[in-house]
């Protein structure tokens, strides 16, 4: 059985005279115990897809399941199996951290949950904030509480919607340490993130959304191997030849160009020399997920 299953999910929004097709027939499954990354630029439909899974939004057509439970017809079982860390930094200003977590446990029918709540507080570095009111916490601390709230009922499936957006390095490390432990203990994790190095380091498999459609779905290692595997990086003040400029990623003076193999690198350097382009600080490295991501987002994508 899949932990998460999306079957032909479409979602159409109507705002005034405009209709926007936010998702156009997305299908994929995530196996139990998997650490899965869902990537895509803003507006690609990641949050919409997660909202449909969580019951915050309804698909126009198609079916979503959590641990085999349909999110519409069997919503109670589906939501018990799911813990969602929402993207927005929301909180209830009336309560302390511990009250918030006790109340959230109650919604799931768990009366006495203090042992697990204490463990969550400890793991997320919140022990000394347990009795602080939510209003008094910094943004990073509120984010930790959101994570704890999603986990109070020990859900087998955990969804994190850009949990590290605007979060300091310490929390990112604390969080990933803890989530990786839960994943080792058998929890399935679905992560959306803008930080591609996080996805590369953590996710066993990756799906990429572009304009509401799935344009890539593969093991992270296969995705890295499947596209241009070499990355040429250098600094220059001269304009690039037009044929190279289209595939280049330029940040200030730094230029990054993908190349399939060593021959392609030789040809590229020859082309630069011919064009009179002066190259400094040349490095040749392995392509990272960012390169894969950009080449997929710019091109037609790879077969899913």
């Amino acid at each position: 059985m899949s932990a998460i299953s999306f079957q032909h999910i479409t979602k159409t929004f109507t705002s005034g005279p405009r209709t926007v097709q936010a998702l156009q027939g997305v299908s994929f499954d995530i196996a139990e115990g998997e650490f899965f990354g869902l990537l895509g630029p803003n507006g690609a439909g990641k949050t919409t897809l997660i909202s449909i899974l969580a019951g915050l939004s309804r698909a126009s057509s198609g079916q979503a399941r959590v641990m085999g439970h349909d999110v519409r017809t069997d919503y109670q079982a589906a939501r018990r199996a799911l813990g969602v860390v929402p993207q927005e930094l929301v909180f209830d200003p009336f309560f302390s951290v511990r009250e918030t977590l006790r109340i959230q446990s109650g919604y799931f029918g768990i009366g006495r949950n203090d042992a697990w709540i204490d463990e969550l507080l400890h793991e997320l570095g919140l022990s000394d904030k347990a009795d602080a009111n939510m209003r008094q916490l910094s943004g990073g601390m509120k984010r930790r509480v959101l994570v704890a709230q999603a986990l109070v009922h020990r859900p087998p499936v955990i969804v994190l919607d850009e949990p590290t957006a605007g979060v300091d390095v310490e929390l990112r490390q604390t969080l990933w340490h803890f989530i990786a432990r839960l994943n080792r203990e058998g929890h399935t994790v679905l992560l959306t993130t803008h930080y591609l190095e996080e996805a590369e380091a953590l996710c066993q498999r990756i799906g990429m959304l572009k304009q509401g459609a799935l344009v890539a779905l593969d093991r992270t290692s296969a995705l890295l191997a499947g596209t241009a595997s070499t990355l040429v990086r250098f600094k220059t003040d001269d304009p690039l030849p037009a044929d190279l400029a289209t595939s280049a990623r330029v940040t200030g003076r730094v230029v990054q160009l993908p190349a399939a193999d060593a021959t392609a690198v030789e040809q590229m350097l020859a082309r630069l020399r011919e064009a009179g382009c002066r190259v400094d600080d040349l490095e040749i490295g392995r392509a990272d997920l960012e390169t894969v991501f950009l080449s997929i987002m710019q091109g037609q994508g790879v077969a899913a």
Partner: protein, 258 residues
């Protein structure tokens, strides 16, 4: 078919949270409305005491007490569910409840139940303070209790609907100022509808709040403008109708699940 536990089992924690929410700021949510009602009693009572006798042998201030108590129950029951929902929607923390397995019935019981508790708490506070100035007596207390419970439930459910419907605070204020306030003020809190011209009397009889106040007052003086059984019929029907609508809106996730 859902079992009892799946259907309403989770209502209690949400109910407790909703009660805690207003109790933590009870100075504003309970004490303030009690003070307002006492001011009404002192001012209207003082001005009108000598001039108005609504029921034979019942001084105006005594007549006013049950009306003020009921008005407080109604307004505070409405304020509780409506303000909780609109605040949670606007700040976004409603998501914590939306993500849970709570059924629409559990939502309804929790929000309306907490509204009823706040309505009754304020109503009791107003009664305790005003009765000290003008003890109204309790001729048929069962009627008073029945109408207080139904009034709190009706307005709690109405507040739930308003809270789901409104997207901004000014929409909520409009609902409160243009629907709830006129209906409570024109229901006979401050007068017996028999003292009105025929047209306004007829119009008052279309207002379900009139039956709430009239039936409630019956519990204190043993007299009322219409039979308490008619009032009970009207109020119970209104409560059932509004509750059914609120349950339906919760079930379809009206304006909260997109």
């Amino acid at each position: 078919m859902m079992g009892w536990r799946d259907s309403v089992g989770g209502a209690l924690p949400l109910f407790r949270k909703e009660v805690l929410r207003f109790w933590k700021v009870s100075f504003q949510t309970v004490a303030a409305p009690v003070l307002t009602a006492v001011l009404y009693l002192l001012i209207f009572g003082h001005v009108l005491e000598e001039h108005v006798e609504v029921f034979d042998g019942v001084a105006y201030t005594r007549f006013l007490v049950p009306g003020l108590v009921m008005m407080s129950v109604l307004q505070n029951a409405f304020a509780n569910s409506s303000s909780s929902l609109i605040q949670s929607k606007i700040t976004g923390n409603l998501v914590f409840v939306l993500l849970t397995p709570l059924s629409h019935r559990a939502w309804f019981l929790a929000y309306v139940g907490a509204s009823l508790v706040r309505g009754l708490a304020v109503g009791f506070g107003v009664f305790a303070v005003t009765a000290w100035f003008a003890p109204p007596g309790l001729a048929e207390p069962a009627w008073a209790l029945v109408f207080a419970l139904l009034g709190g439930t009706l307005l709690g459910a109405l507040g739930l609907i308003a809270g789901l419907w409104a997207e901004k605070f000014d929409q909520m204020a409009a609902f409160q100022n243009f629907i709830i306030m006129p209906m409570t003020f024109l229901s006979g809190v401050f007068y017996s509808v028999h003292s009105l011209p025929a047209f306004w009397q007829g119009l008052s009889h279309l207002n379900p709040f009139f039956y709430l106040i009239d039936g409630f007052r019956r519990g204190f003086f043993g007299v009322s403008d219409v039979s308490p059984w008619i009032s009970l019929g009207v109020v119970a029907s209104a409560t059932l109708g509004v509750s059914a609508l609120a349950l339906h809106l919760l079930r379809i996730g009206y304006k909260i699940r997109h």
